[in-house]
Amino acid sequence: MNDKFTPNIIGFLCNWCSYTGADLAGTSRMKIPPSLKTIRVMCSGRIDPLFVLESFIKGADGVMMMGCHPGDCHYQKGNYNARRRYVMLNSIFDTLGLEKKRIGLWWVSASEATRFAKVTNEYTKEIEKLGPNPTSKEIFL
């Protein structure tokens, strides 16, 4: 192990598209940063904004929300809920003066392993640049 900062990133992935896309990235032996821990939910609509905030406050350096592309949600429109909540989270982050860059929403389909690899690697690099989440030491719940 070295002293380089390894971020802690949590990814909430919907079961039908993004989680399957992540599996395919593995099956295709794509290199995905180990700093990403994925959590499977049935639909991106299940990504309760509370989880994102909670993950963040408990020390996650970044939170990725992933779901099916608009129009492709297994439950028809759950991802539109996710999108609304993402927008809402952005304004919450603004109000609280938190770094918005640390949360993000991506559409990744079941066949988009390459996209999954690309966004997770790019995002991890970005978080590495940002450094550790300063909030975790400041907020006590």
Partner: protein
């Protein structure tokens, strides 16, 4: 009950040990409190592997099981079944993905191992919060709700009804038949002698398996194939406002079309000029055998104007050329001296008998005039002038009567029904089938089908054929005796936390949540909920719990990831 967890790490042949130090995993996991046993196995999904797992669960008297292997998308169901066979509740099981999302995506063995350990620990913490859920089975409902009592809805009902299958046929107006019921006669080569619609309506009325609701509409529909609930509301005078809840297994939309409103475009002078009538009014004149001008005289000359609204709407309505030909024949046959002019943009004669029908009209002296557009219909003395343009050349005809064929447009309730049922519309505003060739008459909502002019302009035979197609799909999927397994991982609302704010109602796309005014709380209908979990995040009181993906279960995964 004392919790005894068993953790099974699968090697998947060389796949997992190549990248993950399984001994280290076992060492780390063994020290966890409730973990009774941690074992490795070469190929857990093989028959031997499943046998080993089953026997080990029994031997160790486990209450909870964690399998760390491939993706849950691969073998979650396999191992849930093994747990069940070993006498456990299959939901007290958690699958941890250390193959696709660890071994196969992290080249560094140390990193992959430490991530695998985190994932498995999260799985152990999570499974402790699992509830033993029960899979229910519902008998499939084979009855069908048909919305729209035109020829399409009638034909669907007749071909579906049987001793085992009740049909609920809901018609908005006070009588069945739709547009076809208003026609004086159908085209001669379609068999104008047969009283098609009248006979079909009689068959419906005499069929004890078809329940007809006239002057009614459908207020609510929720559910999925084999399991729909709908509310039919009556607008009949003596029954006004009475609502009836019905249960069906499939829904057929046969709401047909409407006529383009000629008043929308003032060039037609419709509603302003006497003796300018719509095709439907002319059908009525034929029906009453009274082709007369307002002053009671017979017209000496008639112009039949095609394609009204075609430019505005952007499509050809397919049937108008043929029924205006029918009008021309009628006029020539019944008013021997009448002068008939047809003004058309393109002649649409798609069926094999149409050409000779057209030729015969010509022989009878009907004049066919090609035009690009009607410029103006106006009164000029006793006559009506139809001014039109053809290839930039302006011209006009002067006649006693003008009959206009308006485009067929989506029926008024289409967008409302689309919203109710979560269905897409095409760019003209008609319902859209899943795929015209790959999946005709089907929709993205399993168990909901569309037939007839609700999909766009078409004639009676085409509409009826499509109704047979919907029946075929329904008959092959709604087989009496078949069971549906409703989703287990549904959401539930805690009564004591719910404030009755009803925010969640608007979030659920399936209409699975309703408000109970007596208790002042909202309730999830488990038979309809799909378990997407969308509603959970919307509740300001945290009253909604998504089974098997509860806050506490996911929280364990979050916390372990951050540890």
């Amino acid at each position: 009950m004392n919790k005894k967890i068993g953790v099974y790490v699968c090697e998947c042949g060389p796949n997992i040990p190549e990248r993950i130090d399984i001994d280290k995993v076992i060492e780390e996991l063994s020290s966890m409190g409730e973990v009774k046993t941690v074992k490795r196995y070469s190929l857990l999904c093989s028959n031997d592997g499943k046998k080993f797992l089953k026997e080990d669960i029994e031997k160790e008297e486990l209450t909870h099981v964690v399998v760390a292997a491939c993706s849950p998308k691969e073998h979650e169901n396999t191992f849930m079944k093994v747990c069940e066979e070993a006498g456990m509740n299959p939901y007290l099981f958690q699958m941890v993905n250390i193959r696709e999302q660890c071994a196969w995506m992290i080249p560094d063995k140390e990193e992959a191992t430490s991530k695998a350990i985190k994932y498995i620990k999260a799985g152990v913490h999570r499974v402790l919060f699992h509830d033993p859920l029960k899979q229910k089975e519902l008998e499939i409902n084979v009855d069908v709700l048909v919305i729209g009592g035109g020829i399409s809805g009638i034909e669907a009902s007749l071909s579906l009804a049987g001793p085992n299958r009740k049909i609920h046929l809901v018609e908005k107006t006070d009588s069945l038949g739709g547009m076809a019921g208003k026609l004086s006669q159908i085209l001669p080569h379609q068999g104008s002698k047969i009283k098609l619609v009248k006979e079909k309506i009689e068959q419906v009325e005499n069929n004890e398996n078809i329940h007809v609701y006239t002057s009614s509409d459908v207020k609510e529909v929720r559910g999925f194939l084999g399991n729909f609930e709908a509310v039919v509301k009556s607008n009949q005078e003596n029954k006004e406002g009475i609502e009836e809840e019905i249960k069906v297994g499939a829904v057929v939309l046969a709401t047909g079309f409407e006529m383009f409103d000629l008043k929308e475009n003032p060039v037609y002078g419709y509603g302003e000029i006497e003796n300018v009538v719509s095709a439907l009014e002319f059908e009525e004149m034929i029906h009453s055998e009274k082709i007369e001008l307002k002053n009671g005289k017979k017209p000496k000359s008639v112009a039949l104007v095609h394609c009204a609204g075609r430019k505005e709407k952007g499509y050809c309505s397919k049937v108008c050329c043929l029924y205006t030909l029918k009008f021309a024949h009628y006029l020539k046959d019944n008013l021997p001296d009448v002068d008939v002019k047809e003004l058309y943009m393109d002649l649409c004669l798609p069926h094999k008998q149409d050409q000779s029908y057209f030729d015969q009209a010509k022989e009878k002296g009907v004049e066919f005039i090609r035009m690009d557009e009607v410029e103006k219909i106006k009164k000029s003395g006793d006559k009506i002038e139809v001014e039109y343009r053809n290839n930039d050349k302006a011209d006009k005809v002067s006649v006693d009567m003008v009959v206009i064929a308006p485009a067929m447009v989506p029926s008024q309730d289409t967008s409302h029904l689309a919203e109710l049922l979560n269905l897409p519309l095409d760019k003209s505003g008609f319902f859209k089938e899943l795929h015209e060739m790959l999946d005709p008459v089907a929709t993205p909502m399993e168990g909901v089908y569309i037939t007839g002019c609700a999909l766009g302009p078409r004639n009676i035979p085409e509409s009826m054929t499509q109704s047979h197609a919907t029946s075929g799909k329904i008959l092959s999927s709604l087989i009496p005796g078949r069971k549906v397994k409703p989703e287990v991982k549904v959401s539930e609302i805690k009564e004591d936390l719910c404030t009755g704010c009803q925010t969640c109602l608007s979030v659920c796309f399936y209409g699975a949540i309703s408000y109970d005014p007596f208790k002042g709380v909202s309730v999830v209908n488990e038979a309809i909920c799909r378990g997407c979990g969308s509603c959970v995040g919307s509740c300001p009181s945290g009253a909604i719990r998504s089974k098997h993906f509860t806050y506490y279960q996911l929280y364990q995964e979050v916390m372990e990831a951050l540890r």
